[in-house]
């Protein structure tokens, strides 16, 4: 093989190896599935009692660094939240869980809304009934005049009877 051809072959092999290496390194690097800002909006700073995204205390800084490390490691949002719960307990979650006593945080507003809607509907119905004139829209009494009124009417008519 001529020297120029051999050099070209070696260069080709080297470039191919570099490209494969770069691709495999890229594939090995975990891709973030979430972000610090996304997690920080849904978890608490346990010491501050505020959302992590609003906290700047030393404990919050450590917590943010912990989340950032897990984000960089390609962990999902649920996995990171689970890791935080393992460290700080369920109080670290800003959103109530969908089970146990925390479920009431979701159910109570719905039940309260339904009860309020029913109470409003009943109230409106009663109000409309109370506002109706006697005898409905025609304004006539449904059973006619009372016996006393009939007697008085007959007496008046008799007085003017010619």
């Amino acid at each position: 093989m001529r020297p120029r051809l051999a050099l070209a072959v070696w260069l080709g092999v080297a470039v191919t190896l570099l490209a494969v290496g770069a691709l495999s390194a890229q594939a090995a690097t975990p891709r973030p599935q979430t972000s610090l800002s996304e997690i920080s909006a849904e978890v608490m700073c346990p010491v501050c009692g505020t959302l992590l995204e609003l906290a700047e205390s030393p404990q919050a800084q450590r917590e943010k660094a912990f989340v950032s490390r897990l984000v960089a490691a390609g962990r999902s949002k649920d996995e990171i939240k689970d890791a935080l719960v393992e460290e700080y307990g369920t109080e670290v979650l800003a959103l109530p869980q969908g089970s146990g006593f925390d479920l009431s945080a979701y159910l109570v507003p719905i039940v309260a809304f339904v009860i309020a809607a029913i109470a409003l509907a009943v109230g409106v119905l009663r109000w409309r009934r109370a506002g109706d004139p006697p005898g409905g829209e025609s304004g006539q009494a449904p059973d006619g005049p009372s016996a006393a009124d009939s007697e008085r009417l007959d007496a008046d008519l008799a007085r003017y009877d010619l």
Binding site: P46, V47, P58, Q59, Q61, R62, E63, F66, E86, E87, Y88, G89, T90, E91
Partner: protein, 175 residues
């Protein structure tokens, strides 16, 4: 009482009860001298099961509630370790309770300062809440009967430990 009035009274009672529960569950008061110290079991910081203050009944215990992110905790850690080395034994121990902290950071803290006394982990802060702490560090000297003898809010130093704690320990503090 009419049905409407009964419903109104029950509704008001329910709201008041809910508010009272909220206040009671959030609030905490510091354990006082003479009271029994909280002794709920906690996981050991280094792993390997749980332990509690009750395991040390019969010994004097200086409960040190701390966290790795707390600057004053770093300042008092060497004094506590020195005191433990001088006085630790069958009659006395320092007992660290790492509260609201990352376990990895806490273990690094223990290693950095070479702390040899036992460490428990209070990740959610429930035990610190039971003591009524308002921050870290706080120290509680517990007698052999499990009752609080001293409350020290803030860090301790060698001078305090030698003058205020050592004289109470059996044999003048030499265990």
């Amino acid at each position: 009482m009419s049905a409407r009035a009964a419903i109104a009274v029950l509704s008001v009672l329910a709201v008041v009860g809910l508010l009272t529960f909220g206040l009671l569950s959030k609030g905490s008061s510091r354990v006082a001298v003479g009271e029994a110290a909280p002794a709920s079991p906690l996981p050991r910081l280094e792993g390997g099961g749980t332990s509690s203050l009750a395991d040390y009944r019969g010994r004097w215990v200086l409960v040190n509630i701390w966290a790795s992110w707390c600057v004053p905790c770093r300042e008092e850690a060497p004094a506590l370790e020195e005191f433990q080395r001088d006085h630790g034994g069958p009659g006395f121990t320092v007992l660290g309770i790492d509260s609201r902290d990352l376990s990895g950071d806490a273990r690094a803290f223990v290693e950095h300062y070479g702390l040899s006394y036992p460490q428990l982990r209070d990740g959610n802060g429930d035990t610190a809440h039971d003591y009524g702490t308002t921050g870290v560090p706080e120290n509680y000297l517990i007698g052999p009967d499990g009752r609080v003898r001293q409350v020290i809010v803030g860090p301790v130093d060698t001078e305090y430990l030698d003058e205020q704690v050592a004289p109470l320990l059996p044999g003048g503090g030499r265990s």
